[in-house]
């Protein structure tokens, strides 16, 4: 556990080959990513981007074709490297013959938590996820949200240093989501690294300090959430000016979209939007609207994915 990174991948590639045709599919392609210790990291991407394959490679459930994956500096294929990992899979299928407490006991023993400690930890973790009344009940009777919370308790019971959570709030009601966020925030304050794979962009934006967007198996964008979503500015919509003025303003704008006789300019500052207004009015263009904007993670996500599609 000497590495300064909780997760470090280098040129990580997984190629699936069809058995008969030999056709290759690159599920993940040369992914080099670093997740610092103690951060909350969000992995985003459209369906089929390779997020789950990436997570499974970290857990050694999928063997990489090329490259390396390290957990706290240890090769992910070494079982000992998985000791500090707490994992909650997407679409988990916990055996229904377990009771809630029995399931926690089983998974904690697989992480070599001693029996005496398990006895203390199980009620504590059931209580933490709001299931203390349900510990003796078979999990076949649990709702989806309860299973998700039990899964989270399972991921936390052996005091992991890194949590890898695949859609952690899937199927959980809004109150439950907030509770899960609170639990995770508590663990973050204790220095636990949290790696979240989620489709819920608003949740990732509110919760994750850093993000990476995967697209078609490659890292399309990575950075600090705050910096990526700092794109504040103004959207100016006007009737279309001359081509020369459109080009002139387009050079100053961060984006220009022409549609149905109108043109949308996105300007990063008030000065620029004011000078654009002057020029447009001088050409007798009519102003349709002027709106202050903030860049959301959703916009960053869509822009990134669409830019990759265009290329």
């Amino acid at each position: 556990m000497d590495s300064e990174y909780a997760i470090e991948t280098q040129d990580l590639t997984k190629i699936y080959r069809a058995p008969w045709t030999g056709r290759e599919v690159r599920a993940i392609d040369s992914i080099s990513l670093r997740v610092s210790r103690g951060t909350i990291f969000g992995l985003l991407g459209p369906n089929g981007a390779g997020k789950t394959t990436f997570v499974k490679t970290l857990l050694s459930a999928v063997r990489q074709t090329r490259g390396s994956a390290l957990i706290f500096g240890r090769n992910a294929s070494d079982p000992a490297a998985r000791r500090p990992i707490g994992y909650l899979p997407e679409n988990h299928r916990f055996p229904t013959y377990f009771t809630g407490a029995g399931m926690l006991d089983f998974y904690a023993s697989l992480s070599s938590v001693p029996a005496a400690e398990r006895k203390k930890l199980i009620p504590k973790h059931l209580e933490m996820v709001g299931l203390s009344q349900w510990g003796a009940m078979r999990i076949g009777k649990y709702s989806k949200g309860m299973l998700q919370r039990l899964g989270l308790a399972q991921a936390l019971i052996h005091s992991p240093s890194i949590l890898i959570l695949d859609e952690p709030t899937d199927g959980v009601d809004p109150v439950g989501r907030r509770e899960i966020r609170e639990i995770l925030t508590r663990f973050e304050s204790q220095g636990v690294t949290i790696f979240i794979n989620s489709h819920l962009l608003a949740e990732v934006e509110a919760f994750c300090r850093e993000i990476a967007i995967l697209h078609k198996g490659k890292v399309a964008l990575t950075g600090k959430t705050q910096e990526l979503t700092a794109g504040k500015g103004y959207r100016l919509t006007a009737t279309r000016p001359s081509d020369a003025l459109t080009s002139e303003l387009g050079a100053k704008a961060t984006s220009t979209v022409v549609r149905d006789g109108l043109v949308d300019f996105q300007f990063p500052s008030r000065d620029l939007v004011n000078s654009a207004l002057d020029l447009l009015r001088a050409q007798h263009c009519e102003i349709e609207s002027l709106v202050p904007t903030t860049s959301t993670l959703e916009e960053v996500f869509v822009r990134t994915v669409e830019a990759k599609v265009d290329k």
Binding site: K56, P79, A81, N91, G102, S109, S112
Partner: protein
Amino acid sequence: MVTLALIRDTFREALARKIFWVLFGLSTLMILFFLFLLKIDIVAGATATVSLFGRQTRGNPDIARVVRGVYGGIATFLYTFGMFLAVFASAGLVPSVLEPGRIELLLSKPISRTHLLLGRYAGNVLVISLNSIYLVLGVWIILGVKTGIWSPVFLIAIATTTFIFAVLLAVVVLVGVVLESAAAATMITVALMIISPILAQTSMMMRLLSSEWSRNVWRTLYYVFPKVYELGHMTLDAIQNDTFAGYTPIWTSAGFGIAVLGAALLVFQRRDF
């Protein structure tokens, strides 16, 4: 601790399946049968009467022969119907672990894949061996108390039944890992059980087969495949006649089991989930 957890998990899953209760229930029925329905009266160390369902047998049977006959019957039941039920019951225990959403979580734990699969294998063997112990020991004690004959050779049925089940379970595990299908695992393993008595007719087939090539093929198949039939026969001979045929069926079957289990581990190591 981890091995114990894996074994306990296999036990839990087995107990959650009705088929294991059927197996246990049949063993209990047999024990109850000998406890209540087989009545043996012994006068001055010799059999006076033996009655079944309240009806007395004719003549004055040799009690030692009766007891050995019962032992043989139990051993035959274990080797045929019992083994089939055990394979049928166990066939789903490996594919269930490989289900998406379950295997990833198991693989995320700090245990090797070999440990994971062998833990499940050991748990499964233990479930079936406990059932054998329950049935054989139960009948042995009841008959011992009723007749005063304590023939320990019958207990060998526990070891041989467990051994041949362990060999057949290796096939179940390999098919389970490759095809993830309980039905295919059952079919292939039962097919091995069925061809065993056919392959055992080696001396007759050596006379019947015309070419050296076909005789070699037959011999190879005979030595490669597990000898369920011979092992059953050996157990019966040992129980009823105190004779022992030799070790070849044991070590060739063990070799088959180890090779197949090794192949299962290799496939499991290399698979993506």
